[in-house]
Each structure stands twice: as structure tokens, then as C-alpha cells.
């Protein structure tokens, strides 16, 4: 199977547009402008990127960024083999060669040396220097770069440099509005819409606590988890406690507040 095939999205991902983000992404891709997708945990950023890769019929190469990731992890390295050394392209190089969309998830986690290697790919040059190989890779015309970014994590210690930020066009994402979010949960899990609406109402109660004892609100993903547990036979109360509350807080007061919100919906 060719590399392009391996990374192609075969079936249409569930995605419910919230506005004109699909058209705008297509325009950014049309001009091959790098894209930054901003928003809180679990609001559907990765799903959106996956959906766009499917829609644009481009392979998608995703990299979960982290602080231990080196530039070599993105670009490639020499492997020592019995018959000599062999160069192994990293995911970014592969994407640049085959014309894939390269998606760097949670880019702020990466160290600066990792971040800086994308610079020459994100301006008019569209090249990737493989210093260790002495090769200058010209990006495939279809190549595009997408990064995700959670403003809630941003801190003095970890933020993108202005010279990196100014290479991107950006989308602001947030959780879907109430009716849409219930419909998404229902479609993904098969749970009755009425129960899904109750789940969404619990989420809204929790999101109001963000910054007041909760680092993040209850995401759409957690609602899907709760619905899945109910579909497996758990009581709604058990499912909500286990999927919506216990994972996100260790604080007894917050936990009680959220448990009351659950009981109010599933009395």
C-alpha cells in the first residue's frame, strides 16, 4: 500500500459544520496558507481537520506533539542497518513529499526547535531543509500544514513565538450550540435525542464553572462517553458520574454540584 493510501481517510467522518468554516478552510487550502485551529479540549478540532482531509481528498498525517519530540522526529533520521545507513523520512517530510495535509496536534507542547523546522515550509519558499541529509525538499503542490492550539493552556512558559504565529491563518472553535450538540451525540451513539439533550444541559452547567474550580468544561466527547455507557446498560446517573464528573474533578464541592445537576436532569 502506498504511503498516500495508508494515510487516506476512507469513510466520511461525522462532522456537523457550525458556520462557514468548511468553505473558509477550502479557501485557505486553495492559497496553501497554513491553518491554525484554536479551541478548547474535545470541541471537535481534530474531527474538523479529518473531515477537511476527507473532503479535499488529501492524505492526513497527524503528529501528537510533546516536549520530548525533537526536530528529527518530524524531519527524519538515519538508521543504521546491516548494509549501511538508511535515511527514514519523518512524518513532516513524508507529508511534504506526497502532498498530504500534515496536522501537528497540540503544537504548543513541542519545543522551539521542533516548531522552528516548519518555518521554511510556511512561507513563499515552501521547502524543508534536511540538514542532516544535505537535501532541500521542495513541498508537493498539494501539501498543507495545519496545527491545533488550545488558548486555555497558553502560559508564559509555553506559547508559540510571534514569528511562528504570524505564519498561520486561524479558526476559532468552540463547543457546538445546544441543539446541534445534542444531535451530534445522538447520531454518534444512537441514544434517544431527549436523553442527549439532558446530557447537553449538564455540560452547560459544568461549562459555567470553567475558571471557577474547573480547568475545562465537560466536552462533547465526554457526552458521547456517557451516552455510550447508557447504551451499554448503565443507569444514566452512574454513566454521568463516571463519564462526566469523576474524570474532570477531584474537588468534593465541584463534584457535588455536578452530581446535583445530573440528578436534576435524570430524576
Amino acid at each position: 500500500m502506498s504511503l498516500s493510501e495508508q494515510y487516506r481517510i476512507r469513510t466520511e467522518p461525522h462532522y456537523q459544520p457550525q458556520g462557514n468554516e468548511v468553505a473558509l478552510f477550502e479557501m485557505a487550502y486553495g492559497a496553501r496558507l497554513p491553518v491554525m485551529v484554536k479551541g478548547p479540549t474535545g470541541c471537535g478540532k481534530s474531527r474538523f481537520v479529518e473531515y477537511m482531509a476527507w473532503k479535499l481528498q488529501r492524505p492526513l498525517i497527524t503528529v501528537a506533539c510533546n516536549e520530548d519530540m525533537t526536530a528529527s522526529d518530524l524531519v527524519g533520521r538515519y538508521l543504521l542497518e546491516a548494509g549501511g545507513t538508511r535515511w527514514l523520512d519523518g512524518p513532516l517530510t513524508t507529508a511534504a513529499r506526497i502532498g498530504a495535509i500534515c496536522y501537528l496536534d497540540e503544537i504548543v507542547e513541542a519545543r522551539q526547535d521542533t516548531t522552528v523546522v516548519i518555518h521554511p515550509l510556511t512561507d513563499h519558499r515552501r521547502v524543508l531543509p534536511l540538514d542532516k541529509k544535505g537535501e532541500l525538499v521542495a513541498a508537493h503542490p498539494d501539501f498543507a500544514l495545519v496545527i491545533s492550539y488550545n488558548p486555555g493552556y497558553q502560559s508564559l512558559m509555553k506559547d508559540l513565538k510571534p514569528s511562528t504565529k504570524q505564519r498561520f491563518t486561524a479558526f476559532d472553535f468552540d463547543y457546538p450550540e445546544e441543539a446541534l450538540e445534542a444531535r451530534i451525540v445522538a447520531e454518534e451513539t444512537g441514544l434517544a435525542l431527549d436523553a442527549c439533550e439532558r446530557l447537553v444541559r449538564i455540560a452547560h452547567a459544568a461549562r459555567r464553572l470553567k475558571g471557577h474550580g474547573l480547568a475545562e468544561g465537560i466536552s462533547t466527547r465526554l457526552l458521547v462517553h456517557a451516552a455510550q455507557l447508557i447504551r451499554q446498560g448503565a443507569s444514566a446517573r452512574d454513566a454521568c458520574r463516571m463519564a462526566l464528573v469523576r474524570p474532570i474533578t477531584d474537588d468534593a464541592d465541584i463534584r457535588d454540584t455536578l452530581d446535583h445537576a445530573i440528578d436534576a436532569q435524570f430524576a
Copy 2:
């Protein structure tokens, strides 16, 4: 012996359910939702996971997390050999391939950046990208991820990121209630139930000191140690001092308080 066989639990682990956690775990596993087991040191979290692996008839691969652990320790690395390099799967990769339950013990000890590698395994993708190998491992249908988490350790420096927490369903654990804990100690060691009840009472005294000079209370495991020493012929007082008090405190006042509690039970 195949890898699956090597990691299979052969004999039923001692486990005394405290509520409906066994059924709920089975539902979470049914939906392949990642599971977080929360609770203090030595309350039986690892035993519960071992029991569920036995009950579900899945191999169990346990990783003791620590702050020096790198992503490569979980995912795998190239070994340098005489004839070249050889890839060695890490425990997480092995679990994903053979359909084991992968249990990351004390996940908060790991650096946040290491924990990021589990992300693509814990959403709808269920894949593990081996960036260094250029391979995308699709998880076996039976694979599941379980982590343990001790809220007592949680600090500003060490906590899971919201984007990690929101990938899990969670169970709250605590030490068993008094009668059950005594029965567990008696069953595991063969010590008379009456003596076990006294041990549990000492533990309760110590647990009230948690946060007031003690980092953690006396765990069920320590009660088992004391009971074992008594069964070996030690006096109850010697056994309790050696198994329950000396390991957990260097503070003379705390030590005296606990020694008094021992003398009160074994006068």
C-alpha cells in the same frame, strides 16, 4: 510462550467488590472506553485492574510510570545491534497489537509530554503512530487502556492535562469499609478475624492523621504485612510498629501517637 500467554492472569486474584464497579468496568470495556481508577496508595486499585483482566480474559500489561519515563519507553525504540538497528515495541505498542489491557500505574508521575502519546489510542481513531518507525498501528479490537491516579499526589506541578483527563471514564476508590477490610486481611493472611479488626482500627486512627503530618494513611497492604509478621511469630506490637508505623513516618510525635494506638489495641 506467546506474548498473549505471557501476560495472561492465570489464577483468579483475590478481589472483594465494594459496589457495582465490576459491572460498570465491564460496560466501559464493552464500549472500549478508557478507564481511570482513582484512589489513595494501597487501597486495591491495581488488584481491581488485575481482577478485571482475569474476568475479561484479557492479557494485562502493567507499566509503573515515573517522571523519567519517555514516550519511547511506552511506544518502543530502535536498538543498535551489530547488524544494524532493530525496532523493539514498547509495552503500550505490544498491548495495542495483541489486544491486551494496558495499565499505566501512577500516570501522574509521568511527564505530561509522555502521556500525550496515548491520545490517538483513546479516541475514535484507536491508532498508535510509531513516528520513528513510520508505522500506524491500529489497535486490536480487544485492546483497552486503564490508568491509575492518586488525587492525593496531585499538585500544581503534577496533574494530568484536561485534554488527557477528558479521554477517560473514572472510578473513585477508597479503602474498604471496616468490616470488609478486616475480612480481606484475614482471608489473605489466615490471621484470626479479631486480630484483623484490631489492625483495621489502628489504620483508621492513622488515616485521620493524613494531611496532618502523614502524607498517606496506613494502607490495606500494610495491614496485610503486619498480619503476615504476626503469623511468622512476631508479637502484635512488634509487627505493627515494624509494618505500620516505621515505614511511613520519621516524625517522633506521629510515631508515638501511632505506637499508642497500637498499644491500645494490643494491650
Copy 3:
């Protein structure tokens, strides 16, 4: 293709002189004096260097500096191969050998200790000692060193050492004056000059916020992005929000201020 060919600039880069910087650069190059190009993000520093390399008909080797870069990344290193070790010149060494212009972009990002390796290349000696190889490379007569430097990043922690600064002649750059900047955007994107002037006015509003909640103003590059999106069919308001505002701020107040500036121009 020879190394010299690989790094040669083939087509004249778009460059609009702002003063006599082209003649002065030629004089500095005539005396082979090292050059420091100072100025904010995205004001055209890299484009100027590229233009001068094209004008002087010299190959250009660009290195994006970062804080994890070691001296070996510039100078070269031994690679371990099946048959032994092989020396691989770094980009600075390559440039010194083939008589290229070596451009160290964002030099302050590099650690002070990495920047020390350029010292013997920047005085009358014009040599580069490869200590690890036991070789003393005499620079090609055409070799020159150019660095870029963003005074806005300068801090107690990150600044060039006096003994490094005092090896350079320096150019102060800034964003082009209003009419010129609009003309540059129009020429690069084909957007009508009138719309480009409006974009420039928005940029001017943002640049006044620099240091008052914005780390950097809206650069010429971002104006080009906005113009490209408009050319792809986006509304001017959508394009400006996505290209000029969302990438550079997460602050709701700043975002609203800039959105108002957009609406004022494209009412």
C-alpha cells in the same frame, strides 16, 4: 546538482527598497563585513537577504536558529555508519567552503554558546575550526555571514553577547511606509490597490497596540495572507479576522478592538 547550484536563487525575489540599504549592503559585502539585519517579525528581513543573494549572485544557505540548536548543528558532526563514522558538514561549514552567504535567522534564539562558533569567521582570520575533525577551514573569498535579530524579543535571558554584536555591521528595518506597503501587497497578490490600502490601515491600528497586549503588530506577511483569502473568494471581513486577528491574539478585548478596525475599513 552541485551544492552551489542547489542553494542559488534562480528568480529575482520581489523586493521594494525602502532607502539606500541595497547599496550599503553591497559595500558591507565588498569589505566582507558581517551583517546584522534588525527589525520586527514579518517586515521583510529575510526577503531582503534573499534579494541581496540574488543580486550578488551568491548561493544562500539559511538556518532557522532555535534554543535547542547546538554548535554541531551549525558546524557539522560525525555520523555513525555501518562502516565507521562519516563527517557531515553543517550548513555554516558548507557556506564557508562554497562561498555562499550564510543567513542565521533569529540568531537570538540560539544559545550564546552556539553563537560563539561564528567568531573566528567574523574577524580578520575568516576561518572555521572544526575541532572535532581537526581541520581548520579557511572561508571561501566570497563567503559572507548575515544574521537577523528582532530587538522586540530581546530580554535579560536572551540577547547577543557584546563580543558577538561587535563583529557585525547593522541595518535597522521596519514595516514599509503606508503607500509602499499597500503596493507590495497588491503586487504580490493581485488584489486591487484600494483594498490593499484598507488592509494596511488595519495593520497600522494593530501596530499601535504593540506592547499594550500584543507581542507583535500585524506584519506585511499577514496582509498578504488576507489579500490571498479575499482573492480566493472570502469576504474581506472573514479574511481579515482569519488572517490578521485570530493568529495573533487570544484576548477577547484585543480581538474586539481589531474586529472593529476591520469593520470600519470594510463596512
Copy 4:
């Protein structure tokens, strides 16, 4: 010589029991409970462990822990050899295989990743996973783990985690009482008991200064040193200054106080 032979204690180490610690250690070993030996520098912790290994007829593998020690230093690593790679067991693995007592001296010095590898050996599992080799070593039935721990060093930065501490039974050690300590020094060095008693009295004077300018008191080991120097022909005053005082303090006042104590005993 087999590994077991290499690590066997051949001659009975000098050891003077201070209480029932020998019997209690035998009981802990009988139940294969891990043992922590606590106490100040030079009070005989290591000697006690050596004695118990001799008495129980088990090989003893001692590891001096330090901050640079990695998990591989305990567990083992691959060596590259002409004909391929060869796995080399670390001391902990060797001990687990041959049924030795593994003694980790000054465990708090080690980094957490080193500490954590002992966890699966110290609960009911009694296994050691060699992740890099893909092998799960089941401990020999005679294997036991002993660690030493000096509460005086304990600090916020360096302490065992509760989840590590709660795996051990613990012994509190201190310097022997006066008559016993003199007898020990006399037996080890052949110095007359009367002179040894004087040495012990000097030590008692110094131990009262612990925490008042002295980090630790004069240990039994230093008394043995002084006695050895006297046996070599040094005057008692010279020997005491050189063996008891100069090594432990640079403070002129403390030095004078201790010198007076010497002169009072050896007038």
C-alpha cells in the same frame, strides 16, 4: 565461580545485636516482606544486612544508589558485541534470578525511575519486567529486597514516594548503647577496652551537638578509625583529632569544643 558463590558472605561479619532485630528480620524474610533499614550514618546498617545475609545463607548483592543511576543500571542492558548483541542482567535482575538478597544502599539518592522498577518485585506479583528484553522475570523464591534510608537526609527534594514506602517493613537503627559500642570498637581493633570507653565518651559529647552545628555526630566507624590509628602508634590526641574531629567539621568553634572533649578524656 557461580554468581551465587561470588556474592556469598564467607565469614561471619562482626555484628552485635542491639535488640530482637535479628529475629524480626528473619520473620520478615520468612514472609519475604521487603525491608527498610533506617538510621544515621555509620551506625551499622550495612553491617546488619551483611550479617543477616550470612546468617540466612543467601548471596548479597549491594548497590550504592546515586542520582545518575538509571533503571538500566539496576535491571540490565544490551551490549553490542562482535557477533551480535548480548543482554547483561543488572544487579537487581541477577539477585531476582539467583535468589539473592538485593541491598539498595542510600535509596533516596536514586531518581524515581530507578526507584519505581522495584515496585512489581515488592508486592504479591514478585516479578521484574525487563521491558527492553520483552521478558518478565519471576523472582526466585529466596529473593528478598532490602533498602537503607537515612531520615536525616530526607528533604522536600529527596524523599521516597508514599507508594514506595508502603511496600516495606522498617527497622529503626541508632548508635549502640555506651558499653556495647566500646566493646564493638575493642573487638574490631584490639585496642584496650578502657581507651575505647574514652573514645565512646567523646562520641557522646559530639552527638549532643548534632543539629547544633554538626550535621551528624561521630559514628561508631570513626571510633574504629581512631582506635586503628592509636594501634598504629599515633598518640590518642593526634588520632582523635585526625579521625573524629577534622573529617566532620570545618567550624573553628565546634573543632575547639571537640578538641577539649578529647583532651579531657586523654589528659
Copy 5:
């Protein structure tokens, strides 16, 4: 070409003595005492060392010290080759063997482990232990060690240890007095002496600002740069701004002050 030849200074370097430093250096070299050359950036320290090497007819091996430099970078290392390993002497070892002057430029930049390796070469032993090779190199009778040191950089974090400093004899350097400095600039660049005197007067203005907003004054080297630009055809004002002011300050007030000083000289 032999190593001695490769490092020999072939043509007499421009050097204008400021006092009896040439004779004193010859005496220090006569007794093979290590030499420390102290002084501000760009005052001619390296030129002096080069001149002395030429005068004494010794090869000169210069090492630009930096924080990433390891002891192996100075002493040497094993290289892996097809037919086995090969030892490669580092620059310090080469100098010790061939009787060169080894010049460690900006020694305070190096880490202590790098600094400490020079100790046995700088006392009566005059040896260099190659621990990794198991060889003890006795220094050639003509070998000498010279280090440079900028007291202005000295800080709590980076200073030589007393035990290192006390191995050297030291020279204090400073910028040449006014007439001499103008003559040096004129001789090195061919610019008219009158213009050179004006340049020196600007430098004196700037040197008075040292410590009042300027980390270092304008060095002789920068005056040479300005003179070279003028010789290339730049106006004196452009040349001075570009060579003397822009490289050393980003502060608008300081820049204006210095620009006024330029305009006063080249009205």
C-alpha cells in the same frame, strides 16, 4: 603539511605594543608560565596572542570556548571506523604534543569539566592525562597555554574557580590610547588619519556610556569596520551609524546620543 606547519603564523600580524607586554610575555613563556590575557571585547587580546606566537615562532592552536564544549572536545575522542576505532587528539592534546601555544578564547564560557582538564598541564607536572585512552601525555618543552578572559562578563554564575585562576600570570589589556588607536585604524584600512581620529573621538564618547546603558563601548574593531565602509564609498555618517551604533544598541535614546556624536564629528 605537518600539523606544526598548519598552525604556524606565516606573516607578521599587525600589532602595536601599548607598553612592555611583549617582553613580559616572552619572560612568562621563558618560564613556561601559563598566561591569562584580560580585557574588554575587541581591544586586541587575540591579535596580541597571534603576534606573540609569530614572534616566538610557535604554532598557534585557538579554541573558541563555549558552554557545550566537553572535555573530549579539548582532549580527544575515539572515532569508530571500518577497521576498528581510531583515537583523534583534540586541539589541547595536539598543542601539548607538537609544542604549540594553545589559546583558549573566552575561557569563562566553558563548563568546569572543560576548565579542569588544563590543571595538570599548568603546574610543575606539565602532563595531560587522556583517561579514555589510558595515556599520560607529557607536554612538549615548547608547549604553553594562554587563555583570554573578559572581566566585564564575570558573574556569580560564570567565573573561573580560584584554583584555576591561581595557575596563571595575567595581563590587563584596554583599548589603545587615542593617537595610537587612530594610527592602528589608519594602518589597517588605509583611511586618512584625520578621519580615523574623528572615529576614535566617537568611540571615546561611547566608552563613557559603558555601564550607563551600554554593555560595552565601541571597540577598535568597530572603528576598523566604519573605516572600511567609508573606503567602500559609504558616507561617513552612514558608515558610522551602521558600523558603530546599530550593532551595539537597540535603545532609542542611546542611539540618538551616539548619532549626535557622529554628526558632531562629520558635520
Copy 6:
């Protein structure tokens, strides 16, 4: 040449005893007690150790300790070679095998964790475990360990641990008394005794400034340097400035004070 021969001291080092330290060292060596030599920089500690090695006819292996030194630098390491790995003994291991005196110079510079490796060599065990090699080296009967220690460097960050200190017998050293120091300088350099006495008087002036602006006083070694420069033809004033003052201070006031002391002696 055998290793023992390579490290043997062939000619009697100049050494002037200050008291009964030679006899006491012989007694400590007779009992094979580890020795700590304490005192300020350049007072003759290393010379004393060298002299004792010569007198006892033992090879001497000296290691200059530093904060980047690892345990492997002392003990040994595997080298990667074409045909596999090869173990290379470190200097401590070599000394233990051949029965040399191992001298760890400036031990406090090493990290505490590196110093821990000497522990098993410094008690009754007299062994050195090479954990990485799986070998337990029994020290040669003639092996002895000596460390030097400068109390003036001692700080909260850098001090030996009590458990290390309590393994040594200790000697207090200081600069020789006035007449003896002058005689030492005269004998080592051939300078007239009268001039040497003047040098010593300057040193005494400087030593009174220790802790009042000077980290260390002028050592005997520096007096020897000054005498050597005078013997080479330098004026006494030039020689003293260059050898005694410039190396140890950058402070103008201290420099002037010391220069006055020089002028007072050599008026």
C-alpha cells in the same frame, strides 16, 4: 610500560614538612584508612600527596574532580568499537586493581552522587562494584584513597555528605609559616632569600583580605611564579603585579591595595 610504572613518581618531590604530617599519613596508610587533605588553594596539598606516594613507593593516580564528572568517569565505561563494546577501566578502578594511591583532587567539585561510588572502597569491604560490567573488584592490598578538600569553597550547594566525610581521616593544611614559605620559594626558583621574604610579606597582606573582596589569598604557587618571572629578568614590581595580583582580582580597589603592598616591599 606497565600501568604501575606509568604512574610511579620517579624523583623525590620538593616537600618541606610543616609538622608530623608525614608520620601520621604513614600510620593512616598502614591501617589503609582513607585520607582527606584539607586546606586553601595552592598551599601544597597536592605536593604533599605526591611526596607521600613517592615515600611509600606507590603509583599515584590523580583525578581533577569537577561538577560534570559522572560516576562512569571514575569507574569506567563501555566503549563502542567496530567489533563490539570494550570495557575501559576508569582511574579509580585502575588504582584499585594495581594498588595505587588514588587522589581525587577537589572532591567537593564533584556531584554528591559521583562521590557515592567510593563508599564500598572506603569501609571494611574494600571493593568496587562495576555494576555495568557485573564485576566486583576487590581492592589490591596496597590501594589507598586520598581526597583533597578546600573548606573555603564549602557552601550549602556544595559540601560532602556526612556519610562520605565519615569515611575519612583528615589533615588540616595551611600556607607554611613565613620563614619556611620563603625558603620553599627560594629553593624552587633560585631567587635570593631576601627577595623571597618580601614576596611572602606581600602574600600575607593579601591573605588578610580573604573574605573581604578576595575569594582566596595569594598562594605559595603564585609566589613561585613571581620569583620565576624575576629570574627571567622582569622587574620585581612587574613580576608581582603580573603573577600575584592580576590573576586573582578584577576589582580596582583591591588591585590598588595590593599594588601598594608590592611597592612597599620593592621600593
